[in-house]
Symmetry: D2
Subunit: 357 residues, 4 copies
């Protein structure tokens, strides 16, 4: 079966990209090794886990699951019971795009949407005050008790929490006896942007559990749940198994992580995607009728475009989402987005924009 490539879709999502060469090579190596123990007792799983511990410079507990919904939902379920609640931003993926996964895995925990001030809200960020408001609002047993704060890093709007911002939220969380969860579907992009050590925006800043995304960064399938607070991972292996998230041929989930972590491929991929977003931003932010919502901090540009431009770009074959919070279009770059593609898109948008103006 043969199929042609589809470059025109390159701004729809970073999960439309394939497997990066380094991850693929590790997968092939793992397959070339004949019979291997199942369920994670293989050397690839050991290796990738060791590498993650090294990466974070701490003796964390690591589990591999199949996708981001499962990673977030299982991590949250390990931190709260059904009658507890999770505080997150209104645009948090766990709230808007996991079809009630967190509620399902926790058997009913409610997500409480924090109301940040408008500046932070536009950036898709939760603020310490928004968290504190929700925690202090009610204490009665007729409402689920807040137990966790969840941050997405980078956010769903392509922005990044600074080290100070993470710390400030962690401080409120600690004071209010909440655990701190980080949805890191694009964690790599945040690290690339901030230029800090991965530990600086995780456990050193007060994060208890990180869902470290690999798929959007070049893996075929699989995310890592990293417990910095190891008390929270008691019996987590049973939870993963029961929830249908334990791969029998685990090496094909973990080996690609080895490829990603070796030689900092994960960071290089992220830097490239981020750079493409910057290139796109530079090329389009001054065009007539184009209103970029904020300078990109990760691998996406969010912009309001004239309806005529959107129609024309779609007609030309370009694919991207329009529905995003605040009315903007989301232009997402991936590890394999080519500068030529960015330039071609920008040229088409410039032409459409000139015509529309």
């Amino acid at each position: 079966m043969t199929i042609s490539t589809a470059p025109s879709q390159q701004f729809a999502s970073d999960n439309l990209a394939g497997i990066c060469p380094e991850a693929l090579q590790s997968l092939l190596d793992a397959n070339a090794s004949g019979h291997q123990p199942a369920y994670g007792d293989d050397i690839w799983t050991q290796k990738s886990t060791d590498m993650l511990r090294e990466l974070f410079q701490t003796d964390c507990d690591v589990y591999y699951v199949f996708n981001g919904t499962a990673a977030n939902s299982l991590a949250l379920a390990s931190m709260c019971q059904s009658y507890h609640s999770v505080i997150c931003s209104p645009v948090a993926h766990i709230e808007t795009d996991e079809c009630g996964g967190p509620e399902f895995f926790s058997n009913g925990s409610k997500l409480l949407v924090g109301e940040s001030d408008s500046a932070a809200a536009l950036l898709g960020k939760l603020t310490p005050d928004a968290v504190d408001d929700l925690v202090t609002k009610r204490h009665d047993i007729h409402y689920p008790k807040p137990k966790v704060v969840s941050l997405t890093q980078a956010t769903e709007l392509g922005t990044v929490y600074t080290v100070e911002e993470v710390r400030a939220i962690a401080a409120i969380a600690k004071r209010r006896h909440l655990k701190l969860h980080m949805d890191g579907a694009r964690f790599a992009n945040a690290v690339a942007t901030l230029g800090v050590h991965p530990s600086e925006i995780t456990w050193r800043a007060g994060v208890d559990v990180l869902c470290f995304g690999g798929t959007k960064n070049g893996l075929p399938v699989g995310e890592a749940v990293v417990f910095f607070d190891r008390d929270l991972s008691a019996d987590f292996a049973w939870r993963v198994k029961q929830a249908g998230q334990l791969a029998s041929k685990m090496r094909f989930i973990s080996a690609p992580w080895v490829g990603m972590l070796e030689h900092n491929t994960w960071l290089r991929n992220a830097r490239h995607a981020n750079a493409m977003a910057q290139r796109l931003y530079q090329a389009i932010h001054g065009l007539p009728g184009v209103r970029v919502m904020h300078p990109p901090q990760a691998n996406a540009v969010f912009a309001q475009l004239p309806a005529a431009c959107i129609a024309r770009l779609h007609a030309t074959g370009w694919k991207f989402y329009e529905f995003i919070a605040g009315g903007g279009c989301r232009l997402m770059c991936a590890w394999d987005t080519q500068p030529e593609t960015v330039d071609a898109f920008a040229a088409d948008l410039a032409a459409a924009s000139a015509q529309a103006a």
Copy 2:
């Protein structure tokens, strides 16, 4: 990172084997196709689904999930509410090896273990009478109401339900208003043994939903849930998504299925594994002290071995499980088990057996 192959483990489980060449080639092809739509809107998913419909000669609904626990649990949850129950054999994988996955996904459905007559029980099979006994035992609301029968084909003891056996259970199920689920983790091996068309032991015999296993047959990860009764799959896509079983880069789950289904690779793999089990059986069933529990009907030999033999084989590096129901050792063959490996094992067992005798 390099690693040597580990042929000595080749009888522990069929999920210790790697990816078969045909499945791998499809995965590589899919990766070579650049950006592709996510969440199953890609052409590989369309293609594999069409092929499965052709294979079964019916317009079934097909969903891909990550592993067998998820496939079984989600399929069962689509057929019963929390206050219903599922009838299965005492050695059913859903009962003994999924860590309560079915109970979790259904929010509490109880598994009721059927007591087959001793002949059937030794073969790991459920009988129509065992089903009927459980259904007619109680009708009060203080006990979960039976709603589903679950068969494993091939069974966990390496045996195979005949077409007539499946039909007989389906008849009881129909009469008692139960749905019929088939755990087909080794469905390919059963088809290979019976030499019938796949439809003959599924929907034509009364099966409503089949969990068609691919991993043990040569895939890296991923099983297909095949709904022959399409009423049961209403909104199943939402269920899969919520349960953390929807792959974003779905093509890497579905493309290998294309490779497996093209040119009947799935059946060839199964026939090979079955033949290796027969070869092993022929080589060891007359050895002193060796009591094969029943002639293999699929890809495993179950045999009681003298403790000294077990110890010696393990010391030599051979790996296999001893814990299996009835006290036997399970010697499992895979799609890539080599005749030489079978012969070497048999020779070592013969030597150990002679020494022990």
Copy 3:
């Protein structure tokens, strides 16, 4: 053990009142009848069920559960799966005061809060447009699919949906394939206000399931779940049992219903409570600094009071809640609220208000 009465608390909630004489007499009668079958096979349960069918002039299915959270949660769970969602108003009891009960019983169904226009929102009502907006907003599998609309009648803000309003929402629900649930914790008060036959604002208007509250209206414990759409109650008896909501000595739950339904006690109680709210409204709505949020339509007055007044009333021993949506105080009347108590409260408020002005 003796204890004095506590009239000062009479405006905090209608669930602070005791058992009305008619319900109590039935309970005593039921107790005087010696041994009786358990689990609802007694004649009291039969009788009250027949009476409810007569009351609603239709052959509905009736189940008794212990409280309103259970009634609502189980009713909703019978209408939606975990990956579905329920549309309700932001002040709906199921959203704000059941501690995630609906999410728990349904294993994760999400509540979607409708945004009514401001006039309706101030009255605590959901509008057809608010429902339609939520249903048409998204159709993708990444968000729970709407399956139910839930109305509270009378609402949490003491207002009442007219027959036309219920019908209009039912029409949208039908068009969008949603079931219609009515939280009738204060259903009696709504019927008393509207002066219509109970069937007119339930099944004749398109309601599928009503949770008919008895506790706030004079029962000791117990609510009735009334299924007008009997397809929805398939196996509901098992659901109730599993959920810990089946009383063994059921007669003590159902017999008080007989007392309430005989001679229209339920309606007389509701009329009285409503009249007390009107009396209170008349007495206070013109006082300086007192801003009644809307004329009472059921048994509560919602009013903004000067802080000094609130403090003084509390100091005098009057009890009522201040936290209610929109900032108002809730002054709730019960079946046993005395005119003298209303007058005394109004006098105290008048005095406090004069002093504050």
Copy 4:
């Protein structure tokens, strides 16, 4: 509505009896006290809780729920996560008569049925060895990890664990890091039989949580969940609320407990029921064809009766269950069973037995 008493049903179950006078009087007193705080903030709930603490001579946490299924299920859910398991006897009420309630409330915890030696099994008891076998059988993540042992005291077969037996099981539980739950639906009858202080067979023997049944002993509705290990009851109030088990008019649940606990009514009721079972046993155990399964230790006699006797007794109007484990009939005495009724039943059985012989 008038109804005649039904003395003929007096051996079917102790939950066919009504409310005992002392409990009723307290309920009436509570009702006479006008408005009272809701949700347990009333003085009756405070009083009954204090009395339970005094009764057990320890500062336990006490929660009132509506019935036994809820009490057991919520208590177990507080001790195990969905991927854990609960060890109980094959005749345990949680296994056989709660319609999967424990699995539902815990979101999937599996009940593991212990195989006691035949002597203990005939008495419906779990043994330390049966517990240990299950705990040590498997340690892998493919099977739910045992976390709780549940004993029923008195057992479902009318027998009673001695202090030593409870201690022995508690010792195994402690060694294996299991919590110890006691289903005390008929706890009063066990205390009456053993003649020990209630603390002796609960926390002093190693029990962590007791579900203290009141309904079968003379209450209208409501059981007490008593946490001796207070760490286990963290946030239990939220759990109760979310699960639909928090009574708004709590005083009508708790006040009857006051009546039961004052002047040791609970114990007197239990002694009476036990004495009636002894009287019945003495009257029938030598009759031809009658095989009493074991001398009664609580308030029930289990006996195998000739089919003709059963038919004749039923025809005469006597009601009792036949289905009970081991094939016997269950003859259950209640707090209000009269000696005359026992004698009349015995006489009828004697006549039937003579005729059948």
